[in-house]
């Protein structure tokens, strides 16, 4: 069983504190993942951004209060979108492998429902166009 004291203290933390930590840690983790994917070291990022390596380390610590300007510079340096809002649309190419006998199956609906029901593994906030293969076993019933 988890700690009741922890749960009690967690419940009393102001939303703004939770939000700050969540946003900062998620942005840090996103940048860190991009660096790993692209094989860029913290030192190389520091050079790209004309900053000290210790500054980059602070950004990745999950404590940093990022400004929009610094995030924009990071996106420019990393050539990758870091922050996503509700106005960003998923950019997914889906390859559907249909194993149903009925020819009139509505492919788009299969895709929409699969995304909604997490049948698809959609990663990295949709920023990369990817090809997914759907192999639903009992998906047809949901399409009707």
């Amino acid at each position: 069983m988890a700690s009741k004291l922890f749960e009690k203290l967690l419940a009393n933390i102001p939303v703004k504190v939770k939000s700050f930590n969540r946003i900062s840690m998620e942005i840090s983790a996103t940048i860190s993942d991009i660096l790993k994917e692209k094989g860029i070291s913290q030192k190389e990022l520091a050079d790209l951004m004309q900053k000290r390596e210790s500054e980059i380390s602070k950004w990745l610590s999950g404590n940093h209060n990022f400004t929009i300007r610094s995030l924009a510079k990071l996106e420019e340096a990393l050539k990758t979108q870091i922050v996503f809002t509700k106005f960003d649309r998923p950019n997914i190419t889906v390859q559907v492998e249909i194993k149903y006998s009925e020819p009139e199956i509505k492919v788009n609906k299969v895709i929409e429902e699969s995304i909604a029901s997490n049948d698809l593994t959609v990663k990295e906030n949709y920023q990369v166009a990817k090809i997914f293969k759907i192999n639903p076993v009992s998906g047809y019933e949901r399409v009707a």
């Binding site: 700690s3 004291l5 922890f6 840690m25 998620e26 840090s28």
Partner: protein, 162 residues
């Protein structure tokens, strides 16, 4: 410290977080820390609790969120709080220190903690902090040497003798 056992603190969707009970004291080191400092260091404690919740449920125990202390596998949380005194910087590094053992990104064992006062430069100068780090290092070495399965140890309430 002669004996220790593991207890689960948080069951997260990403990882589970554990603490240790030393010498059958009846209270784990993390709760001991929370109980002692939640009144006078509430801003620090709120940050720590909130971060642990995010680690457990969102990010996992990423190395960037921790800072090494003496031995590679013993970390302390990086934590910043509002700087009420100084005019320049809005935030300063928190005085609270909470030590933990990170086993990869999937297991985090939180130990005890305390306050690193301004008049000391290194935690080694504080008897209590030094003892907490030593305890965590001892547990870490024991884990490595004996290849302990923490999940099984928690489920069976296994106690380890040093």
């Amino acid at each position: 410290m002669k004996t220790f056992e593991f207890v689960k603190i948080v069951s997260g969707t990403k990882i589970n977080i554990y603490s240790v009970v030393l010498d059958n004291s009846g209270i784990n080191e993390f709760e001991k820390f929370l109980t002692e400092f939640s009144d006078n260091y509430i801003e620090d404690i709120n940050n720590i609790i909130s971060k642990i919740d995010i680690i457990a449920n969102v990010t996992g125990a990423r190395e960037e969120f921790f800072k090494y202390e003496r031995q590679a596998s013993v970390f302390r949380f990086l934590n910043k709080v509002k700087n009420k005194k100084a005019k320049g910087k809005k935030y300063r590094e928190s005085k609270t220190r909470l030590y933990c053992i990170k086993v990869g990104e999937s297991i985090l064992i939180i130990g005890g903690g305390g306050i690193k006062e301004d008049n000391i430069e290194k935690f080694q100068e504080d008897t209590r902090l030094n003892e907490i780090v030593s305890n965590m290092e001892t547990i870490d070495k024991y884990l490595l040497k004996n290849e302990i399965d923490i999940i099984k140890a928690v489920d069976s309430a296994q106690s380890f003798m040093l």
